[in-house]
């Protein structure tokens, strides 16, 4: 995300000024004036209206918004699961990995099997799958649970498995749709630490959707505030609090207060319409 300090909505036509290294500066995800609507006639629902957003390589971007702001729709567009009605979505990455709020693990496979299937579908040769899967499970601290089945795991462990599976796609861009929304606070805090660690060690680009203001500030390099109905970018905040951060630190709390005020305003405006 380029630091645009005061602008609320980025103009669709504004080109990204190339800085220093051309390749580095080219955004890995480029969303240009995207509109997405579902249905037609009276039933027509506009989920996204003129959203423009650039995400740079290696950046951790949090999309923050209340329900109905089109966060999930936006992620689906970036993941290539859906097409925009108008506008462009350019993803300059080999793959995108996607993680949902529900771990969506395959119950007939073991933890390792779930990860191996992702490797298989990603074209990894058979002989390399098992060691790679175990390596990924070690990364998410599930090495001892490779043979367990999803239903034998706790919620946090299932979400870790889903994370390992998403990482198995070897995606440059990881899209996360409220992945920790259903977890208890303590598990969530620990997964924040682990995700931050993974992000800084792998250099992946992460687009993380959440409706939790503190979570967005805890994790993101920048926080994109989305307004609801229709979804559009209301504000972009750069988070300069040094890492590692704590979700209960005063800096996070101060920034959260500011953003929450703004969020209330855009939500209020949205419901007036």
């Amino acid at each position: 995300m380029k630091p645009f300090s005061d602008q609320a909505v980025r103009a669709a036509s504004s080109p990204v000024p190339p800085t220093g290294l051309e390749a580095q500066a080219r955004p890995v995800v480029s969303i240009g004036n995207v509109t997405k609507s579902f249905g037609s006639g009276n039933q027509r629902v506009v989920a996204l209206d003129g959203v423009t957003l650039d995400v740079n390589r290696g950046e951790f971007v949090c999309l923050l918004g209340a329900s109905g702001c089109g966060k999930s729709t936006l992620l689906n567009l970036v993941a290539g699961l859906d097409q925009p009605t108008t506008g462009t979505v350019d993803v300059h990455a080999q793959h995108t990995g996607l993680m949902f709020q529900d771990p969506a693990l395959f119950p007939w496979l073991t933890v390792r099997g779930n990860v191996e299937l992702a490797l298989k579908l990603g074209g990894v040769p058979r002989s390399e799958r098992r060691p790679r899967a175990l390596e990924l499970l070690e990364m998410v601290h599930l090495g001892d649970f490779a043979k367990a089945r999803p239903h034998e795991l706790s919620g946090g462990m299932r979400q870790r498995t889903a994370l390992a599976r998403a990482l198995a796609q070897n995606a440059d861009v990881l899209l996360m749709d409220e992945p920790f929304g259903a977890l208890d606070a303590m598990t969530r805090d620990r997964l924040h630490d682990e995700l931050e660690e993974l992000w800084s060690s792998t250099g992946k680009t992460i687009i993380f959707v959440t409706h939790n203001v503190r979570e967005a500030i805890r994790l993101g390099d920048c926080v994109v505030l989305l307004a609801s109905r229709p979804g559009r970018v209301a504000a972009v905040y750069d988070v300069t609090i040094p890492r590692p951060r704590r979700i209960d630190s005063p800096e996070v709390a101060t920034m959260a207060a500011t953003i929450t005020d703004q969020l209330r305003e855009v939500v209020g405006r949205g419901s007036d319409r």
Binding site: A104, L105, F106, W108, Q169
Partner: protein
């Protein structure tokens, strides 16, 4: 497991020592067996009480011990007949699996077919299998075709329905997860749809077999099949010859085979899959 384990540890899949595992298995087998043995004992007792009560003459309702004694003496013939019937059943069932399988897949994937015959398949299931026998006799006379026709018509709808329900009920979220991982088309079918539908498919097979078994016995009882004598024909002959002990013998064999195949084969497969998929509470069983 790193430090992260402490807060959300559940019972890890530990490898129990071999001897305690064997003991556990013996224990579980006994736990599962003794209620059945008790039930059999109660049935035999009740039967004996009916005999003692002289409600009917002893020649009409023989004592269970007389029947079991005859069954033991006739075990050779009975086994041969049982295998003949079972062979016919398996043959018909396999054909039904192929026909029902293709039909189920086609109806599940092709909307026009679903609109045309989707509800008819369920309708077919309500048709009592005996009702097919006269038509089968007209079409195939007293041949092997009659048995096959009746068994397939009995079993195929259930099998097809199991597949249709299984595919219809694949959680959309899993399909989406599969698509994100790159499973599309055939690959999605193989890695997501078929495994997700498996519990329902096995349920359909289980039901299909029980329909096949009923249809088969109906065909053997009614159609005057030439050649090898199955257990249903044996029952028919015994009734015609007013051999009451023979009637009871055949009925017991039919019942035992039905129970064994249903509970041992399909029941075990069904439970194993449900446990594996986490569809039953492991702690409650």
């Amino acid at each position: 497991m790193a430090v992260t384990a402490d807060l959300e540890v559940i019972v890890p899949p530990t490898a129990a020592p071999a001897d305690s595992r064997a003991k556990k298995l013996a224990r579980r087998t006994w736990d599962a067996t003794w209620p059945k043995l008790l039930a059999i004992a109660i049935v035999i007792l009740a039967w004996q009480i009916v005999v003692w009560s002289h409600w009917k003459r002893e020649t009409l309702i023989p004592s269970p011990f007389t029947v079991l004694d005859h069954l033991w003496q006739d075990r050779g013939d009975m086994t041969v007949s049982a295998w003949i019937t079972l062979g016919r059943g398996i043959q018909g069932f396999l054909v039904a699996v192929i026909i029902g399988g293709v039909l189920g897949l086609a109806v599940a994937r092709i909307p026009v077919l679903r609109a045309a015959i989707g509800s008819m398949i369920t309708g077919l299931q309500t048709m009592p299998s005996v009702a097919w026998v006269p038509l089968a006799i007209i079409l195939f006379r007293q041949g092997a075709g009659t048995v096959l026709f009746v068994v397939v018509l009995g079993a195929a709808p259930s099998i097809a329905n199991g597949i249709i329900n299984g595919i219809d009920n694949v959680p959309p979220l899993l399909l989406r997860a599969g698509r994100v991982l790159g499973a599309r088309g055939i690959s999605a079918l193989r890695h997501v749809v078929i495994p997700a539908a498996l519990p329902s498919v096995v349920g359909g097979l289980k039901q299909g077999w029980s329909f096949a078994w009923r249809s088969l016995l109906a065909a053997e009882l009614i159609a005057n099949l030439p050649g090898k004598i199955g257990i249903g024909q044996r029952l028919n002959f015994a009734a015609t010859a007013i051999d009451y002990i023979g009637v009871f013998e055949s009925m017991i064999v039919i019942l035992i085979i039905g129970i064994l195949v249903d509970s041992l084969l399909f029941g075990t497969a069904d439970r194993a899959i449900r446990r594996r998929y986490g569809l039953i509470d492991a702690a409650a069983t």
